[in-house]
């Protein structure tokens, strides 16, 4: 039998706010345990939540970015369960009335585009952390993370392969960073996915029983976990077994998923509206204000780069894969005052190669957009050749200075003086009689060798077009 996998994703996106969603405590990562746990984070008796406006702004930005409905009225609810790192014994979340509904995100898989429907996105608070390893024989509780704002983004079961799921997750990851609501740091847990996976006979309209893989914090794990889970479910069914609804964990060491709790063991969360928080009501004006402050979205920009700048689709897609890269590109084009294709070649070529080599992010590039633009100007005004420009760029990267300084200091200015080139060519012809003879006997290759000799003699500085021209003339 042919099987089809059906996947829906729930992604927890940690919102980039300075303080927690319901208190003024800091959200900075990596502080000593419990140093960012204020009275509200600890859930002392009598404390109350106060909603962080910035978290709401982030949610609205996301809603606008995925073309969703922004609820003018949404409701915070309590999700009740006991766990030591959940200080109140309930998590404040949104249940029946989420802030964002019905959006979509378009992904590219191979040559085909596919739209993934986003069912909803809701605001909620994160829990703390339980530290089970090596804590004087006990478990430790760190409540620094408790109350960190999250946006949980839930899709329809629209994905049909692990690859599609990963493409969606990557697209979403890019987007939330692009609009500045999440730092995207997956190691620190700023972006983590739960995957709902089921299989069914190909052609069937009915959904199979799903199992939910929790807390996947890398794209690779997402891919591996879904693939394993899919194979496991298919094997189980083919062997005549049935799938029980369950929550499972992925073990990266074994590459397997294993059940954490079954449906029977599932909590009854006893959701009800949180009486400490009034329904969240957004004004039309405030939403409009946020809309006006939104950056151009990656897909719109990608299209514009093709349409207005004439870039190949591949360049446009690459340059808009992150906001920082796009900003770098746009700033360079702006500083240059044009030449988008030249800039694109350099950003995707030399700049990307250096970054890659040093494991740096584009924002850490030692060569800033205006500096790069000044370097590229020296190519287009024939001060240096493209090849020499690479040498200058490398020097700029190590901090030798501005392009012009390096060109001067190293004497790299291109030689375009016809007399000087002619003298050089004459010398090359005189010392390479054998090559000249080869050329004259019809071997065109020898011409290129002679050009090479001339360039070498000029230490690469001779204008190659002029060398060509003079050499042809002399040999004809």
């Amino acid at each position: 039998m042919q099987w089809e996998v059906v996947i829906g994703l729930e992604t927890h996106v940690q919102l980039q706010t300075k303080s927690k969603i319901f208190s003024g405590a800091s959200t900075a990562f990596g502080a000593a345990p419990n140093t960012q746990a204020d009275a509200v984070s600890i859930a002392l008796p009598g404390v109350l939540p106060v909603l962080n406006r910035e978290a709401v702004r982030c949610a609205v930005k996301f809603g606008l970015a995925v073309n969703a409905e922004i609820s003018r009225r949404s409701v915070f609810a309590r999700k009740n369960y006991f766990y030591p790192d959940l200080p109140k014994g309930y998590q404040i979340s949104q249940y029946e009335h989420p802030i964002i509904r019905k959006g979509s995100l378009t992904i590219q898989v191979g040559d085909t585009e596919k739209t993934i429907r986003i069912t909803r996105a809701h605001l909620e608070e994160d829990a703390g952390k339980s530290l089970h390893e090596d804590f004087h024989g006990m478990s430790g509780i760190d409540l620094n993370r408790a109350g960190t704002p999250l946006l949980e983004i839930v899709t329809e079961p629209d994905m049909r392969s692990a690859t599609e799921a990963v493409a969606y997750a990557k697209r979403l990851h890019e987007l939330v960073m692009w609009i500045g609501i999440c730092d995207g740091n997956m190691q620190e847990g700023s972006f983590r996915c739960d995957a709902n996976v089921s299989v069914r006979p190909k052609g069937s309209d009915e959904l199979g029983t799903r199992r939910e893989i929790k807390n996947l914090n890398s794209f690779r794990f997402l891919q591996q976990a879904i693939e394993y889970e899919m194979r496991w479910q298919i094997e189980t069914l083919e062997e005549g077994g049935t799938i029980e609804q369950a929550t499972v964990l992925f073990d990266p060491d074994t590459g397997e998923t294993r059940a954490m709790r079954s449906k029977e063991e599932a909590n009854d969360y006893r959701y009800f509206p949180d009486p400490d928080l009034l329904p969240l009501e957004l004004t039309y004006d405030w939403i409009e204000e946020i809309k006006a402050s939104m950056p151009e979205l990656p897909q719109a920009m990608e299209e514009r780069l093709v349409r207005e700048y004439g870039l190949p689709p591949y360049d446009a897609a690459t340059l808009t894969s992150s906001r920082a890269l796009a900003d770098y590109f746009m700033a360079t084009v702006g500083a240059f005052g044009g030449e988008p294709k030249l800039v694109s070649n350099w950003v995707m070529g030399s700049v990307a190669a250096k970054l890659n080599e040093e494991g740096k992010d584009i924002t850490e590039s030692p060569v800033k957009p205006d500096q790069l633009a000044r370097l590229l100007k020296r190519i287009t005004d024939s001060t240096i050749s493209g090849k020499i420009a690479k040498e200058v760029f490398a020097a700029m990267w190590t901090g030798e200075g501005e392009a012009d300084e390096i060109i001067e200091k190293r004497g790299l200015r291109q030689v375009s003086d016809a007399g000087a080139i002619e003298a050089m060519v004459d010398q090359v012809l005189a010392t390479n009689a054998a090559m000249v003879a080869e050329y004259k006997s019809g071997k065109e290759k020898a011409f290129n060798a002679l050009v090479g000799q001339c360039m070498k003699a000029s230490k690469g500085k001779a204008n190659p077009a002029q060398v060509n021209e003079i050499l042809r003339r002399k040999l004809s």
Binding site: L44, P45, G46, V50, N80, F272, P275, D276
Partner: protein, 484 residues
């Protein structure tokens, strides 16, 4: 001095006839002497109180005293007060020292009032007799064999026995008005959102409201001027201009329209209370008010609705008492689940457990719609009853409690009989309205309260209505015999 109004005490302090330290010591001595019999206080800390009193005396000497500067006030042990043990009447918080101040506490601190101590209460404010407290029953100063009412029973008994000039309380379903009635005091539950709930340990968040308990309506007004006010730390706090709650005290009552809900004078009301309430209403007629019969048809549903909604919220609010971070933790347990079970089994009393169970049940999958949602709908109908009623009258009057103080133990094993104590008070919380009880007379030697229910934000007017009555009656000045 112990019988003086807050106004008189303020005058005595201002004129240096007495210092705050002396005044505070006077009440501390009374607590020392009377509390062993009445058990109105859980925590008294003379050193802390007197330190505050000294600071108040400095303020008074400097000439920057406010109306309550130097006056000792007792606080229900539901308010977190920095450095004070704050138990909420529960073993669960027996060892809890609050590291911060509730908004209400900081308001009194800023006003220069002295914290006289933390008063006893039903555990987590769940009870109508103060018998559910982990720290023992509170005895009614009018008859030590009887309950003071609850849950603010300690505050009521403290003021009734003149162990405190005034006290704070909270009212979720009648927890200030019923004890005020049973102890012969004035007590006001303001409109929901007037006093910040920040730092006030939650029972049922959508119903809980802090308020003052004192001898007279005038004293309540003075207390309200300190307690009320917007607080950004409570999202349900109402952002309103600061008001002067004494402004209507002298306003005459001529033309006042009093609504008398027929449902409040029906079955369940004791004859003695009915008689006293009628006499009080007659007194209002003499003061120029006239009465109109009204109906609050959904009153009978208020108790069942309350006993769905309040436990639902409580079951969630009390989840934080899990033994992990603070408060009681069972001494022995085998694993995490066992630690939770034993901690909560040992830390909570029977009434609290009963309500957690009810609340957990009504929120459970499959029951939520039938109980919680249904109750929310009826809650709106109950509120609508009042909207209709206030089209016909300015205030509503009736009994605060169906009877007078009952014997300790009399209803302790009959939760439903106990729940009926709040028959006339609960609807006010469900609607978020202000309600007040003032002393209106006696039945068989025990105090009876008159309940006055006002429209939203009409506290100042209500206090005036109480004050005018207290200008022509002396019920509020009576003191229990044997408590000298």
């Amino acid at each position: 001095m112990i019988d003086s109004s807050l106004k008189q005490m303020a005058a005595a302090l201002a004129s240096k006839r007495i210092s705050s330290v002396e005044l505070t010591q006077l009440f501390l001595d009374r607590i020392d002497r009377l509390n062993p019999r009445i058990n109105a206080f859980i925590t008294v800390d003379p050193e802390r109180s007197l330190t505050q009193a000294k600071a108040a005396d400095v303020r008074i000497a400097r000439g920057d005293a406010g109306p309550l500067t130097g006056i000792p006030i007792a606080h229900k042990d539901i308010f977190c007060a920095k450095g004070w043990r704050t138990t909420c009447g529960s073993r669960m918080l027996d060892n809890f020292i609050a590291p911060y101040d509730a908004h209400v506490i900081s308001q009194f601190d800023q006003a220069g009032a002295v914290n006289l101590g933390k008063t006893n209460m039903d555990e987590f404010a769940m009870g109508s007799s103060n018998e559910t407290s982990y720290f023992g029953v509170v005895r009614n100063p009018w008859d030590l064999a009887r309950v003071p009412g609850g849950s603010s029973g300690g505050s009521a008994a403290a003021v009734a026995a003149r162990m405190a000039p005034a006290a704070t309380g909270t009212d979720t379903g009648g927890s200030m008005r019923q004890p005020a009635s049973l102890c012969g005091l004035s007590g006001l539950k303001p409109t929901y959102g007037i006093c910040s709930r920040y730092g006030m340990i939650a029972f049922a968040s959508s119903l809980d409201q802090a308020g003052p308990m004192a001898k007279s309506a005038e004293d309540l007004a003075w207390m309200m001027n300190v307690m009320a006010g917007f607080d950004a730390r409570d999202s349900t706090s109402l952002e309103r201009a600061k008001e002067d709650y004494t402004r209507d005290l002298d306003r005459p009552l001529a033309g006042l329209k009093i609504g008398l809900p027929k449902e409040y004078f029906a079955d369940g009301l004791s004859d003695g209370v009915a008689r006293v309430v009628q006499e009080a209403i007659d007194q209002y007629r003499k003061l120029g008010a006239h009465t109109v019969e009204i109906s609050l048809p959904n009153t009978r549903l208020s108790i069942p609705v309350y006993y769905v909604l309040a436990p639902a919220e409580a079951s969630s609010n009390l989840s934080r008492y899990d033994g992990v971070r603070y408060g009681y933790r069972a001494p022995e347990y085998s694993d995490l689940a066992d630690m939770y079970c034993k901690t909560r089994a040992q830390g909570f009393g029977a009434e609290v457990k009963r309500r957690i169970l009810i609340g957990t049940y009504v929120l459970s999958a499959g029951y939520y719609d039938a109980y919680y949602l249904q109750a929310q709908k009826i809650r709106r109908l109950i509120a609508q009853d009042f909207v209709e009623a206030f089209k016909k009258c300015d205030v509503i009057m009736g009994p605060a409690a169906p009877g007078t103080a009952f014997k300790i133990g009399e209803k302790a094993h009959d939760p439903v009989a106990m729940y009926l104590e709040d028959l006339y008070t609960i609807a006010v919380n469900l609607a978020g309205l202000p309600g007040m009880s003032i002393p209106a007379g006696f039945s068989d030697g025990l105090p009876v309260g008159l309940q006055i229910i006002g429209n939203y934000f009409s506290e100042a007017r209500m206090l005036g209505i109480g004050h005018q009555y207290q200008q022509v009656t002396d019920w509020h000045t009576r003191m229990p015999e044997g408590i000298a």
